[in-house]
Symmetry: C2
Subunit: 92 residues, 2 copies
């Protein structure tokens, strides 16, 4: 599995809601415009990006930051709590 | 250097502005509530968190996601552009 933190800036509410709805299929909402998601591989990232491109408009900004196990280990909230505690393996 | 992507949810404008102003000392604003920053070490992260705790209120959420060189390499925007291209070494 490949873990990503996804952050987005979207102007229009309708578009923001559709983007959030799509990302919910892949992981958890952490903040208003931030998701932590798990993808099987690069191909699934490409598929997700194509889906989001069909929703996005010219004002939409989306960043996908990869998080390896070590980086997840070192990620934290302001209060020192762990972040990105994705399951290493997703049981289907 | 240690690279982080920092995402925050802040309700009050004044607090959000002060948090952004503080983060600007460490890196670049990427989105409305997202910065990419470089820190020398864990100690500098602790110092930064203490500074931000003095600004934050109970509604403030801040996440610090660590980005190693490999993760930065695999991070991208919706349009496939590179993200987190921090300089490996900061020339003082």
């Amino acid at each position: 599995m490949q873990a990503y933190v996804v952050c987005y800036d979207v102007t229009k509410d309708k578009i923001r809601e559709r983007i959030a709805k799509t990302l919910k299929e892949y992981g958890d909402r952490i903040q208003y415009s931030v998701f932590e998601i798990s993808l099987k591989n690069q191909n699934e990232l490409d598929i997700l990006c194509n889906r989001l491109k069909n929703i996005a408009d010219e004002d939409t900004k989306i960043g996908f930051y990869r998080l390896c196990a070590n980086c997840r280990q070192d990620s934290r909230t302001l209060d020192g709590e762990r972040l990105a505690e994705m399951p290493a393996v997703v049981i289907l």
